[in-house]
């Protein structure tokens, strides 16, 4: 997962042709449709890479 | 007068109408896209040569008078060839009160042209712009893409000399 639009695992199906209603929320708080620690970590890795400080992310 | 005609003919010969066709191809059949089409043509030639505008009129099926009506309305479109270096004197409020008219005057004196004109050797074209948004550096001029800020009239000559 290099950016939020990439799928964390095969359970994520969001594409522009087949969109998911929870996509935006899922970027920061996901995965929402399933539970998986490694999928959550993938998202956090994207955030940690660019977050300037603890106030940076706004949920 | 004869030189003007010669210049125009000389320029006419260089206009590659097939290039015009390819530039405006995406806009055919979309009359509302005449401004982007003219912008593309000007990006390529540096100005709007008459034969190119005639071609746009024919291909886009818009009367030539209408196209000229649009082209002459907007300051961006130029009907004459321009110099290698475009000097843009910022006439924004901040520049004005920090003395941009005195800078413009000095440039006009040195180059013996007025705003909107081009030197005979096609080296410089002098233009005014409303604001280039570098107010902290007022007064500012841009020569092509290079800004020169915090100017005083005595600095102008050296700057112009550095563009040959």
């Amino acid at each position: 997962m290099k950016e939020f639009v990439d799928h964390c695992c095969e359970k994520c199906t969001h594409t522009k042709e087949n969109p998911c209603k929870d996509f935006v929320l899922c970027c920061l708080e996901g995965p929402i449709c399933h539970e998986n620690e490694s999928c959550a970590k993938k998202r956090k890795a994207i955030i940690d890479k660019v977050a300037l400080n603890e106030h940076f992310v706004i949920c | 007068m004869s030189t003007v005609v010669e210049t125009r003919e000389a320029v006419t010969e260089e206009i590659d109408l097939s290039k015009v066709d390819s530039l405006i191809e995406p806009y055919l059949g979309k009359k509302e896209m005449v401004i982007p089409a003219l912008q593309k043509v000007q990006d390529h030639f540096g100005y709007l040569p008459r034969p190119a505008v005639e071609r746009v009129s024919k291909q886009m099926r818009i009367p030539l008078s209408r196209i000229y009506g649009v082209a002459t309305f907007y300051a961006q479109f130029k009907m004459k060839p321009r110099g290698r270096y475009i000097i843009r004197v910022c006439k924004g409020t901040a520049c004005h009160i920090q003395g941009s008219p005195k800078i413009a005057e000095r440039i006009e004196d040195i180059l013996s042209i007025e705003s909107g004109e081009t030197t005979d050797d096609l080296r410089f074209t002098l233009e005014e712009v409303a604001c280039i948004g570098a107010c902290a550096l007022a007064p500012v001029i841009m020569i092509n893409e290079n800004p020169h800020g915090r100017l005083t009239p005595d600095k102008v000559k050296d700057i112009l000399d550095s563009y040959q």
Partner: protein, 605 residues
């Protein structure tokens, strides 16, 4: 993971001061130490403080380095990045701080600011949609997708958001009118044709946070039932256009623009139109004509664009800053937060471009209701060179000047209108005693006169006549009845022009006459321009008592009009002097005076 992030201001102001060269030098230094991969460099949006650019802010430490030069980079890398020690020498210093200010929030320029619209500018990489999402982006839009049109319009109305482009019309009401107009096709248009000379706040938002504008437009589209949007942007803003294009591509790729967005059955297509250089296209009906490929001329209203706009369809037009405010309002709990800032009639913040004879030139975002004094002295750091404050021009060529005696006026739509100025797009140009108010009025009028599209005769011809009179006054040929003539012409133009340009263009003349009548009279009756601007109406003269004979002015004079030996008092040869003012800029003894033509009296301070 990066050890640190270095945000380099890549906006026009800093680029002009040389920020790309600073970036190159920084990369070179990092490579020399072999540590380039540990640091993230972002050439991003504008932190606003153009005066002390080029700027770099180092995160997470939040250290603000200013006035950087390429040769400073070796020290910055070695000492701060490798050694972990702040480079004092490169911190912000100014008369308003006791010691070099280490952190962003200890610099007085930022102390009274409140970042709503500029919330992401300079903090995120404007070309990264992920970073926009991390800052809470597209959440308000997702929420709007779950709401019906009426509720969205209602929230925007409750928030009291007024158009940031000039007139201050209620945004929610505008949306509601477009929503109620029956049509299967509607448009959202973003006016990014920021043409006021001296104003560059919209560009800063476009360059620093393009997704905020897309999100605002999407929410508007959802509210009014539109499926297509246009952003009409000045061609003079190439960087803004590039960033918008990237933002649109990314939003399409993410499924946030296009067909059936996020599965809600909502479609939206976004287009960019480049303007072609016509100030009048900032006027909404002229702008629409320009998008349609016509001459950008305004038309009578009604019908308003909300009923019949682009291609004859109902259209909502808002400016950049208005749209950038929208996601803050429509987000969860947004209305309550939004109304906490501002005054009763003017909610939220306003971005201003501070320029002119002020120490801290740049962009600032302040709560509505802040006084002019606070902006000039606290945010702006006071007048450059310690001269006396004379007036501030608010609202550009459509606005008016606010004199010294109204310095405690709170800045909101209604107070400014009462004072004869307008909020306009947010340009604030500060003037000191060396600014001539007649010349200022003449400057603005010559601008609007050139930009008048010519459709309404009073605007086309009347501004020309007014300009002739002002030209005469500044050449010393004014007549006593001129001021009355100006007043009557101005009134006719205001009353009988179709669009905002004509209706407001006499304002600078009217307000300078209102507050600086004596200055006009001095020009007309005594043929004297005290500010030393109108060239026919003053001489420069060297005070022999004060002159130390340093020859600075002799060297500065481009026409050799100053004679004098070293350590001897100099003298200006009036016949040769072109009154360019180079000498007065260079004189360190303050001994060059502005005197009436043919008089020996010392009237300078």
């Amino acid at each position: 993971m990066y050890e640190k992030h270095l945000m380099i201001c890549g906006a026009t102001g800093c680029l002009s001061s040389g920020s790309s060269q600073v970036e190159e030098a920084l990369i070179e230094e990092l490579e020399k130490h072999g540590i380039k991969d540990k640091y993230r460099l972002v050439m991003g949006g504008c932190p606003g403080f153009c005066e002390v650019g080029p700027l770099i802010v180092v995160y997470p430490d939040e250290v603000f380095y200013s006035r950087l030069k390429p040769k400073d980079m070796a020290e910055l890398v070695e000492k701060h990045l490798v050694g972990g020690e702040i480079v004092e020498r490169l911190l912000y210093k100014g008369p308003d701080v006791d010691a070099p200010a280490r952190f962003y929030d200890t610099i007085p320029f930022y102390a009274k600011q409140k970042f709503n619209v500029l919330r992401n500018s300079g903090l995120i990489d404007p070309e990264s949609i992920d970073e926009y999402i991390m800052r809470g982006g597209y959440r308000a839009f997702t929420r709007a997708l779950n709401m019906d049109s009426t509720t969205i319009c209602e929230e925007v109305k409750q928030a009291g958001l007024r158009g940031r482009g000039g007139a201050g019309f209620s945004t929610g009401l505008k949306w509601e009118l477009t929503y109620k107009a029956p049509s299967s096709k509607k448009y959202v248009v973003c006016n990014a044709d920021e043409g006021d000379p001296g104003a560059f706040m919209d560009r800063s938002i476009l360059e620093g946070d393009p997704h905020a504008i897309l999100e605002g437009m999407l929410i508007c589209g959802r509210a009014i039932g539109a499926d297509e949007g246009y952003i009409y942007c000045r061609a003079e803003y190439p960087l803004a256009i590039k960033r918008l294009k990237t933002a649109i591509e990314d939003a399409e790729r993410y499924g946030l623009l296009g067909e059936n967005i996020l599965g809600y059955g909502f479609n939206f297509k976004m287009n960019i139109k480049e303007g072609a250089g016509a100030f009048v296209c900032g006027e909404e009906t002229a702008l629409l004509a320009s998008i349609e490929g016509k001459r950008g001329m305004p038309r009578p209203r009604p019908p308003f664009p909300a009923q019949s706009g682009l291609f004859g369809k109902p259209t909502t037009i808002n400016n950049v800053e208005t749209f950038a405010n929208v996601p803050l309002i429509v987000k969860e709990g947004g209305v309550d937060e939004f109304v906490k800032v501002g005054t009763d009639g003017s909610k939220g913040t306003k971005v201003f471009a501070l320029a002119g004879k002020i120490r801290n030139t740049g962009l600032c975002e302040v709560p509505m209701g802040i006084t002019i004094r606070e902006i000039i002295y606290d945010v702006g750091g006071g007048i450059k060179g310690g001269r006396a404050f004379k007036a501030v021009q608010a609202g550009g060529p459509s606005g008016g000047c606010i004199p010294d005696e109204l310095i405690d006026l709170p800045i909101d739509y209604d107070s400014l209108n009462q004072a004869g100025a307008i909020m306009g797009s947010g340009g604030l140009v500060v003037m000191d005693e060396r600014t001539c108010m007649v010349d200022l009025a003449r400057y603005f009028l010559s601008f609007t006169q050139k930009e008048s599209c010519g459709k309404c005769t009073p605007c086309r011809e009347g501004t020309k006549r007014m300009l002739e009179i002002l030209n005469r006054i500044s050449e010393g040929l004014g007549k006593p009845e001129d001021l009355d003539t100006l007043d009557s012409l101005a009134t006719s133009i205001k009353d009988s022009s179709l669009c905002g340009l004509g209706q407001t263009c006499p304002n600078p003349v009217l307000s300078t006459i209102r507050y600086f009548r004596n200055e006009y009279e001095e020009h007309i009756e005594e043929h004297f321009c005290r500010a030393g601007v109108c060239k026919e109406l003053f001489n420069y003269r060297i005070d022999e008592e004060k002159c130390t004979g340093c020859t600075a002015c002799v060297k500065a004079c481009p026409v050799d009009a100053i004679k004098g030996e070293k350590k001897e008092p100099h003298e200006i040869i009036q016949e040769l002097c072109t009154r360019c003012g180079s000498c007065i800029e260079k004189c360190r003894q303050d001994c060059i005076m502005i005197t009436p033509v043919g008089s020996e009296a010392d009237v300078s301070n």
